[in-house]
């Protein structure tokens, strides 16, 4: 699904964010990517949907290889990978439904299917009654659910989430986590970056990877 082989990432300003990292997220897995702030989690997440390319090594995402796919063809990866941010990154001034149907429109879904499918996706994340609300009228937890519905719209193989609960209170965090867990139970792989070890401990069945200063220092599957 997502495979990093001897990946290093160096920033012109900032030095090495990752050094010689190899990891493999397989079909159907639930994986936490942990580590202190600055350890390289976000960098790994960006490499995992090819928002950035590695300085050395190779990234493979759903069959596409980092040193071969062109910038023009990235949309092929993006339709197989859903992405959720800490700060939601919804389109302001649009409703929850519009934020989800946007994806379907963008990826060429037949026009008559768009609204029903978007509505089903919102139902999937438990937001049916808020479909018509503008996103800024929603709570943080609700906005993150819209973002998750948006990430699911392309029926991706894998869901990537970078600190998705970082801006949420406890109750909203639990709700969003339950949702991720449920999505994973239905067969979708999930790779979630978080520095919140408390949260990780609540899901002992998940696989845990730990980064420290750009190196992969722990993998519960290998231990």
């Amino acid at each position: 699904m997502i495979k990093l082989t001897n990946v290093s990432k160096e920033y012109a300003k900032g030095g090495f964010a990752l050094r010689d990292v190899s990891l493999h997220v397989k079909k159907g897995e639930f994986v936490f990517l942990t580590g202190h702030s600055g350890s390289g989690k976000s960098t790994t997440m960006r490499l995992s949907h090819m928002a950035e390319r590695p300085t050395s090594g190779e990234v493979r995402v759903t069959g596409y290889t980092s040193d071969r796919i062109t910038q023009r063809a990235l949309w092929k990866i993006r339709r197989r990978v859903g992405f959720v941010f800490q700060d939601f990154r919804l389109l302001p001034g649009r409703t929850a439904l519009e934020n989800v149907s946007f994806v379907l429109e963008v990826t060429g879904t037949p026009r008559k299917d768009i609204v029903p499918r978007a509505q089903r996706l919102l139902t999937r994340v438990g937001l049916t009654p808020k479909a018509g609300s503008l996103v800024h009228e929603l709570s943080g937890g609700e906005q993150q659910r819209v973002a998750i519905a948006r990430a699911l719209a392309n029926s991706p193989y894998v869901l990537l989430a970078d600190e998705p609960t970082g801006n949420l209170d406890d109750r909203a965090t639990r709700g969003v986590m339950d949702l991720f867990w449920d999505i994973n139970a239905n067969g979708m792989a999930v790779l979630m970056a978080t520095h919140d070890l408390e949260l990780v401990r609540r899901y002992p069945k998940a696989r845990v990877l730990e980064l420290d200063n750009g190196r992969l220092v722990y993998d519960s599957a290998a231990a």
């Binding site: 949907h49 928002a51 910038q71 023009r72 990235l74 949309w75 092929k76 990866i77 993006r78 339709r79 992405f83 990154r89 389109l91 001034g93 946007f102 994806v103 429109e105 963008v106 990826t107 060429g108 948006r150 719209a153 392309n154």
Partner: protein
């Protein structure tokens, strides 16, 4: 379909920003419109003067009618010549009386008519250049019975110098303003697109193709350009009315020019958008 809907939606969602972009485009094109108005009127004025460029071929009094007929026919066969008119001594006197009424008393007292008979050579429009005028005069002077051929050498020279200067100035100013307008349009649309980089980013993220992302922006750019062009049209028209009413008579620019202005506004808008968006598509 999607592209059209999105482009229109952009105007609805951010009316101030897109309106501002159109207004900037409009102001830039307004300057071009004024230049066009000035150029067109200058051109009109020059061609009115040019219409009067003709050659007067003065004939000796003792020229035989058959010689006159021959010269009239031969001069009429020169390709640049539209018509050759014979003006007899009497006609010349009548014309002189009409055109110079203050001397009409003097003319009527004359016992002998001092005015020569002549051939008036009129040229085809567009062929009234100095070179042609000189060549035909020279041809006329070769007839032994021709006394003189005149075409107002000095003001023809000036007219053509003025024309050359006018063309050069228009070209230089036009290109300078066109570049400035293109830069302004580019900047306006870059700002408009920059404000929507988040949207572009999200579109990339969820798997939109570059072409799909670009299309509504191109259309929006073309629309801003067209709107700006329309605005410039209105402002130029208002200026024209104002000048016409309070300063002097002007001719309004021909519809083809307006159409060309609107089309280039739309074209510049689309190109500027394409350039501005390229940068965002390369990221992420």
């Amino acid at each position: 379909m999607y592209a059209i809907r999105e482009a229109l939606a952009a105007f609805r969602r951010a009316p101030v920003l897109t309106g501002l972009a159109s207004a900037m485009v409009g102001l830039a094109l307004y300057v071009i419109g004024l230049l066009g108005l000035a150029t067109y009127n200058l051109q009109q004025a020059l061609s009115t003067i040019e219409d009067r460029v003709q050659i007067a071929v003065y004939l000796r009094d003792d020229t035989r009618q058959s010689e006159i007929d021959l010269a009239q026919a031969e001069l009429g066969e020169i390709p640049e010549v539209r018509a050759v008119r014979f003006i007899s001594k009497r006609e010349a006197l009548e014309l002189a009386r009409e055109e110079l009424p203050e001397f009409s008393a003097l003319f009527s007292d004359l016992e002998v008519n001092p005015l020569p008979q002549s051939l008036e050579v009129e040229l085809i429009p567009g062929e009234r250049s100095q070179e042609v005028v000189e060549r035909i005069s020279a041809a006329a002077l070769r007839y032994p019975f021709v006394e003189d051929a005149r075409y107002g050498r000095e003001w023809v020279d000036r007219l053509f110098a003025l024309r050359r200067i006018g063309a050069a100035t228009t070209f230089a100013m036009g290109s300078a303003f066109a570049v400035v307008a293109a830069l302004i349009i580019g900047t306006a649309l870059r700002i408009a697109i920059f404000a929507r980089r988040e949207e572009i980013y999200v579109m990339r993220l969820v798997g939109a193709t570059n072409g799909f992302i670009r299309r509504p922006f191109l259309l929006e750019g073309a629309l801003s350009g067209l709107l700006g062009g329309g605005l410039a049209w209105l402002m130029t028209w208002a200026t024209y009315r104002g000048v016409y009413a309070f300063l002097f008579q002007l001719a309004w620019i021909p519809p083809t020019w307006i159409f060309a202005g609107l089309a280039s506004g739309a074209f510049f808008g689309a190109i500027a958008s394409a350039l501005a968006i390229g940068r965002h598509l390369r990221q992420v």
